[in-house]
């Protein structure tokens, strides 16, 4: 389980160039981590590839925070 969180965190850190400590459960990609709307699209693309899942557009819009992403991916993999 924590493995998923680590992998998601790694992607976020690499893509947004932020420090690992800042990527907390409730950290919002846009408000806290400096992402713009296109960055969030790219993050979703990166999650899809890393985890071999498909995240439809309407679901992607609900992924606002690091915690949202981890939760979505965990559910998608079940």
């Amino acid at each position: 389980m924590s493995d998923i969180a680590d992998r998601v965190r790694k992607i976020v850190v690499e893509h947004l160039g932020v420090e690992e400590e800042k990527v907390t459960e409730n950290a919002s990609f846009i408000d806290d981590l400096g992402a713009d709307s296109l960055d969030t699209v790219e993050l979703v693309m990166a999650f899809e590839e890393e985890f071999g899942i498909e995240i439809p557009d309407d679901a992607a819009e609900t992924i606002q925070t690091f915690g949202d992403a981890v939760k979505f991916i965990k559910e998608a993999q079940q």
Binding site: L38, V41, E42, M45
Partner: protein, 245 residues
């Protein structure tokens, strides 16, 4: 200059006069080309003429499923799509007051909606690569209007607004989106005009002649090239001075 070695380009409407010439010129600059179109025979013929680095990718842009599948098909055939040229276009001319919903919709579907879907389909790869070129073939009538072409002019003007909006969104990713707006060009479409009609049109063209498909292809080559990396959201008018915009 304008070297496309190692780049891959998907060209729609490659069975037509302008599309085929765009494919020849991009291929001549070193690109691998994906030739898309409805009619397979002329595409096969063109691929045979070009030799290596040419792939035939038949697609009827009126069919939703075929449009949705084309970016993937192109990426599978060529490894990626670095350059997309939305060239395919149809006409269903009629007086506005007589124009049917079907005439309107079919032109919007092929000339505008397909370009949107294909652009969307190739963007993922371009964003990852941090490099991409989308060139939409608009038309002078998208800027000036033309009697009998309300549908066509709307679609061609729509391509320009779409290009500019998308250009804003993806500029930081090394992707440019531009339009080329041809004037009157020697093609099968203009061959059907009578001598009187041609004389009437040429009277409005300062150059006093029709343009050639090669002159459109040269504009596309420029906008597809690494050298045009700072040009985005632009419309390059190639019309012999017919409308100086």
């Amino acid at each position: 200059m304008f070297d496309l070695t190692g780049k891959t380009a998907l060209i729609t409407g490659a069975s037509g006069g302008i599309g085929a010439e765009i494919a020849r010129v991009l291929h001549g600059a070193g690109a691998t080309v994906g030739l898309s179109g409805t009619r397979v025979a002329p595409l096969e013929e063109l691929a045979g003429e070009l030799g290596a680095r040419a792939h035939v990718l038949p697609c009827n842009l009126s069919e939703k499923e075929e449009v949705d599948g084309l970016p993937k098909k192109a990426a599978e055939a060529m490894g990626s799509v670095d350059i997309l040229v939305n060239n395919a276009g149809i006409t269903r001319d009629n007086l506005f007051m007589r124009m049917s919903d079907e005439e309107w919709q079919s032109v919007l579907d092929v000339n505008l909606t397909a370009a949107m879907k294909l652009s969307k389909g190739v963007l993922r790869g371009m964003m990852k690569a941090r490099w991409g070129r989308i060139v939409n073939i608009s038309s002078i009538v998208g800027a000036t209007g033309n009697p009998g072409q309300g549908n066509y002019a709307a679609a061609k003007a729509g391509l320009i607004g779409m290009s500019k909006s998308l250009a804003y969104e993806v500029a930081t990713r090394g992707i440019t989106v531009n339009a080329v707006a041809p004037g009157f060009i020697e093609t099968a479409m203009t061959e059907k005009l009578t001598d009187d009609q041609k004389a009437g049109i040429l009277g409005q063209v300062p150059m006093g002649r029709m343009g050639t498909p090669q002159e459109i292809a040269a504009a596309v080559l420029y906008l597809s090239s690494p050298e045009a990396g700072y040009v985005t959201g632009a419309t390059l008018h190639v019309n012999g001075g017919m409308a100086m915009l």
